[in-house]
């Protein structure tokens, strides 16, 4: 295996792609955190402190991701 400097240019990761990926990751994080309560896996009733933290992180990721989408095809 070797690194060919020209090979990477063919498949470019764009800001939009990163944005979509971050937004989805954030949503999954939020969904997963809330799902913990439905599965009765958490030890707190309602949203525990760790869940609140995870939701805040998920929300931030989603917002950052959404803000990157308008940057379009610029290389990430």
């Amino acid at each position: 295996m070797c690194v060919n400097p020209e090979q990477g240019a063919e498949s470019l990761i764009t800001k939009r792609m990163v944005g979509v990926a971050l937004a989805l990751l954030g949503l999954v994080a939020i969904g997963g955190t809330i799902a913990v309560d439905f599965m009765d896996a958490g030890k707190w009733s309602g949203l525990g402190p760790a869940q609140q933290l995870a939701i805040a992180v998920g929300l931030t990721l989603s917002l950052v991701g959404l803000s990157l989408i308008p940057l379009g095809d610029r290389p990430a």
Partner: protein, 544 residues
């Protein structure tokens, strides 16, 4: 040219020289402040090199791991059989130390000097990266010195602990992968980068932040290759993991992975994030600015990813037994991002001042250049003030403490002879001659009680110095496993009831409750000895 413009130009020409002088003075002041904190680091390090006992509770155990490996013995063992000892970290650090321990003896200074050297490598790498990215030596030096000035780097940098070695390997891996697109050395950089990341991971499991950063960056720049190389890397990691597990009969998995899955305390994470932000405000904000710039206006760099991922990993500091050391990688990344950000900004403004064609704008850029020349050192100076820590009784630092009006006594210090802007901390003070004497007194206890049986000690160095053939127990490991219901204490409790151990030495009593109860019923305290700010209880077996 209008009269007012001529007037502005004259003002600039009159004030340019004095402003430049002031700026140079400010840079000198910032460098002096940071060099002073580096001097404090040297003073502390040399004091620790001379101190022969555990300054931090885990040091002796990490030395013992190196001793075991140097003798070809396993470090991942069954905790339920005598001597109830096992390591809970990766094998690389004791493996690197094993030949050194063989060469220089079973001494703590060997690993402390080693760790100290790794911090020099980290500082040097920060300087190298910032200088390479910005061509700005001054800012590169300020960024590197800011790393040494960080409270937590100072506190654990020269300890016989593996954390700094992990940080060093992780950073070197990142530094090589940063230049994976280098036309001449791209391939070499990728291979070396991955090798160093592998080394970081097998030094301490926490290095996954550097590994994630490296491969994420690789993916952003060369997605197809990153997937192929990443799969290869995962296979190598897996093979090493399985081999370790096979050779140790499953003890590697049990002691290094299962035993480290400690309960998460959200309040602890919040408190440590707060402390991290309060202590490193300047570099955190500047690094955040750099990250946003790379995210929205330029290309994402490996250094901005490193800062974000390492900062997120800091959340694990909420695990029981973790602490502010989990933020060191984030501090390293913040120093790099700050240095690159400020260096590039300085270059950009200076270039604009030199190349702007419109005269009215040229003046603005020149003023901006002068203002930035004052702002940059002031920012580093303020960061140095936030990180201030120094011994109050050392001849080289005492005058500075007086100059800064640091009170000689306050209620929230672990030791009154040491000031740290972090507040209460059990690390950072200089051990005294009385501490060393107290340590030897405990060693005498171990030696004199030897005919009655081996010593059960909460710290390893007393038994190592006394020449005991093995270290008995790794207390926090036993405590963690007990809390997870994964430790059967029957054998150790039986031996305690038989009064097999000639001596028991306690410091924090981090043992499973049944063990403490058994010792309480069979051993009596014969002396309390103060060492290094802690009270050690010496217990002897009760007469049958």
């Amino acid at each position: 040219m209008t009269n007012s413009r001529i007037g502005h130009r004259r003002i600039y020409e009159t004030l340019e020289k004095p402003f430049q002088l002031v700026n140079r003075g400010l840079f000198g002041l910032a460098l002096t402040a940071l060099l002073f904190l580096f001097l404090v680091y040297l003073i502390y390090s040399t004091a620790l090199f001379r101190f022969p006992f555990d300054y931090d509770q885990g040091e002796g155990f990490e030395l013992w791991d190196a001793v075991l490996l140097s003798k070809g013995q396993a470090i991942y063992r069954d905790n339920e059989t005598y001597p109830f000892y096992s390591s809970n970290y990766g094998p690389l650090f004791p493996l690197l130390l094993a030949p050194l321990v063989r060469m220089f003896g079973t001494k703590l200074w060997v690993g402390r000097v080693f760790s100290f050297m790794t911090t020099l490598v980290v500082g040097g790498t920060i300087f190298w990266i910032v200088r390479r990215e910005t061509q700005d030596r001054t800012v590169a030096a300020l960024a590197a010195l800011t790393f040494f000035a960080a409270n937590i780097v100072y506190q654990i940098g020269p300890l016989f602990r593996l954390h700094m070695t992990m940080v060093m390997f992780g950073l070197l891996g990142i530094a090589f992968l940063a230049y994976l697109e280098d036309e001449k050395h791209g391939r070499r950089n990728v291979w070396l980068g991955m090798f160093l990341l592998l080394a970081a991971g097998y030094t301490k499991q926490l290095a996954f932040d550097a590994v994630a950063t490296g491969f994420l960056f690789f993916f952003l720049r060369r997605p197809k290759q990153a997937v192929i190389y990443g799969a290869g890397f995962a296979v190598v990691v897996g093979i090493v993991f399985l081999l370790l597990n096979l050779v140790t009969d499953g003890q590697w998995w049990f002691n290094a992975i299962t035993a480290n899955a400690n309960p998460f305390i959200p309040g602890q994470t919040q408190a440590l994030y707060k402390q991290w932000f309060q202590l490193y405000t300047v570099i955190i904000l500047l690094a955040t600015g750099y990250v946003l710039w790379t995210l929205y206006l330029d290309r994402i760099t490996i250094f901005s990813l490193y800062f974000v991922i390492a900062t997120a990993t800091g959340a694990l500091s909420g695990k029981w037994g973790a602490g502010p050391g989990y933020f060191i990688t984030s501090i390293v990344a913040a120093c790099i991002c700050t240095g690159i950000g400020l260096g590039l900004l300085r270059r950009w403004v200076n270039d604009r001042a030199a190349t702007e064609r419109k005269e009215s704008r040229t003046e603005r850029w020149r003023w901006a250049s002068l203002a930035l020349g004052a702002l940059v050192p002031l920012l580093f100076l303020y960061q140095a003030r936030l990180n201030l820590h120094l011994p109050l009784d050392h001849p080289l630092t005492r005058p500075v403490a007086r100059l800064l009006n640091i009170p000689s006594e306050t209620p929230y210090r672990f030791r009154q002879s040491y000031y740290d802007s972090m507040g209460y901390t059990q690390l950072g003070h200089l051990p005294t001659a009385a501490d060393t004497q107290a340590g030897w007194r405990i060693v005498d206890w171990v030696r004199s009680s030897r005919p009655a049986g081996p010593a059960w000690s909460e710290e390893a160095m007393f038994t190592i110095w006394a020449g005991q053939e093995t270290v008995v127990t790794n207390p926090t490991q036993l405590f963690n496993l007990w809390n997870m219901n994964k430790l059967d204490v029957t054998e150790m409790v039986r031996m305690i009831y038989e009064r097999y151990f000639g001596l028991v030495i306690f410091r924090a009593q981090f043992y499973p409750p049944p063990v403490l109860e058994a010792i309480g019923q069979n051993y009596d305290v014969v002396e309390h000895i103060e060492m290094n700010g802690f009270t050690y209880a010496i217990l002897r077996p009760r007469a049958h």
